[in-house]
Amino acid sequence: MAKTTSRIIKVDELARVEGEGALKLRISQGEIKDLQFRIHEPPRFFEALLRGRIYADAPDITSRICGICPVAYIMGSSQAMEDALGVRVTGPLRDLRRLVYCAEWIESHVLHVFLLHAPDFLGYQDAILISKDHPELVATALRLKKLGNRILEVIGGRAIHPVNLKVGGVHKIPSKAEVQSLAEELKWAIETSEGLVKAVSAFDFPDYSYDYNCVAMRHSDEYAICEGRLVSSKGLDIDIASFEEHFSEEHVSHSNALHGVADTGKPYLVGPIARYNLNFEQLSPLAQATAKDCGLPRMIDNPFMSIAVRMVEVLYTCQEALRLVENYEEPDAACVEITPRAGEGFGCTEAPRGICYHHYKLDDQGRITFAKIMPPTSQNQKQIERDLWGVVERYMDLSDDDLKWRCEQAIRNYDPCISCATHFLKLTVDRD
């Protein structure tokens, strides 16, 4: 295609992402003149909704922000409340939290890898067509995802918007027999995931790289999921309470979602690649060895490889879940004792898409006077735009249809949960 041609490319409804959004792209004389990744679902004002509520309501209300990653909201808000109220959840209750979070990673990652993102790499419009040509692959992915749901049901009471988790612990202690009933399927899942890492790593990854400022949590003893400090590939190492000193949100006129920016004024990356790059050595030996055997580099700078990293994380979380299941002992109490008091608390956990930050203030009755939540997709939004800019520059010569597809594939690298960010994606490319 001649570069002098004016081009207008539109993706009015981006499929295979969660929520409503659009991409508008204007190219003139072979140069990008305008690129806007817009999120136009209305904001939902969850933070305002929380003000005046009792601290204990926060997990159940915030879990409604997302049907795919409710655990991230339940855990982040619970942790922040516990911080404000001066209590800590340890021992088997902490293990249960990590187990239920592993389940959410498995469920969310498998859905995204096989049903939403794999079609881009295999040249199919959607997962229906994959299921026609590769029914065993889809059936296996569905069984794996179902295992994530099953764990959520056992610990959380139900698979979507779990109801058994609360500030300080759980409502009802899962029995040892129930928890241990998960072991056999987890053993199948580990073996299966190893094969799936190999399958996904063999995909043809489009050529593109970026020097990302990766930001993830880090924990001294484990691959961070539920807690830890915040670290970055640019040398940052801070307590989560200092998050707002280093990261902020800005409004942009073309989107209803806030854009996250680092104190450098630049975008940053959260999610699977950030975690892998920063904490690779804390993955299990099997996950590390499988990644190496599959040719995944130690430091990943190609965002299209995120699909493989997600699968490495599935392998890891299946192993971690099995470890937690096999070692599980029922706690003496379902919940730590809590006395409402005034306070300020911070919570941050690794949602499947990256760090999800919570900050609350409570009055002396334990009522919420201030709430701030930064979901991962908001934080990644600026980086998504930056990636799109680079991908369009790199693939300018593609036909409009192929360029559109490549852009959608690049957006799906982030598994964007637009519902979380505020809140279908439309893509418009103009060439003039």
């Binding site: 969660e18 939902r44 409604r64 859905l111 299921s131 029914p135 889809v138 059936a139 139900r158 698979a159």
Partner: protein, 153 residues
């Protein structure tokens, strides 16, 4: 919620309670009074739907549609042998929704013996909105249709 049943007929209402007409399917299921039928409410995530209907005899699914028809219009689609029109249920909660679940199940050979979809055209899907009067009318129609169809199955 997705526990298997011994009931011959399963009726699944799909929707998001907090988004107005999207909850049409949930309203239908909550108003049905039928014997020997299992009623389920699901948010519309495709893999969960596939799991819910696998191995079942007769399954009815009620979901809100956004096809451009008049609000409250009711469509009966027999998905047992025919593909669902794409984009019909564009307002499914997730990108892998009802239509994708039906066709993936067909490819995997896991469709129930009979699968009928009732779609009710919605009008308002905003967060926190109520069921619109037109869709409430559609809900009442579907309750009558399914009560009749399920009892005579």
């Amino acid at each position: 919620m997705t526990e298997k049943t011994t009931a011959k007929t399963v009726i699944i209402g799909v929707g998001n309670e907090m988004r107005g007409d999207d909850a049409a399917g949930l309203h239908v299921v909550r108003s049905l009074r039928l014997d020997d039928v299992q009623l389920m409410e699901l948010p519309g995530e495709g893999s969960e739907l596939m799991d819910a209907w696998q191995g079942c005899g007769e399954v009815f699914v009620i979901d809100a549609a956004r096809s451009g028809a008049d609000a409250g219009s009711v469509f009966r689609l027999d998905a047992t042998d025919e593909a669902l029109p794409r984009g019909f249920f564009s307002y499914s909660t997730h990108a892998f929704g009802l239509a994708e679940a039906v066709e993936t199940s067909r490819n995997l050979g896991t469709l129930p013996e009979k699968l009928v979809i009732y779609a009710i055209e919605g009008k308002q899907f905003a967060h926190g909105s109520e069921l619109s009067p037109e869709v409430a009318g559609g809900v009442a129609q579907v309750i009558t249709h399914i009560s009749d169809e399920a009892q005579h199955a």
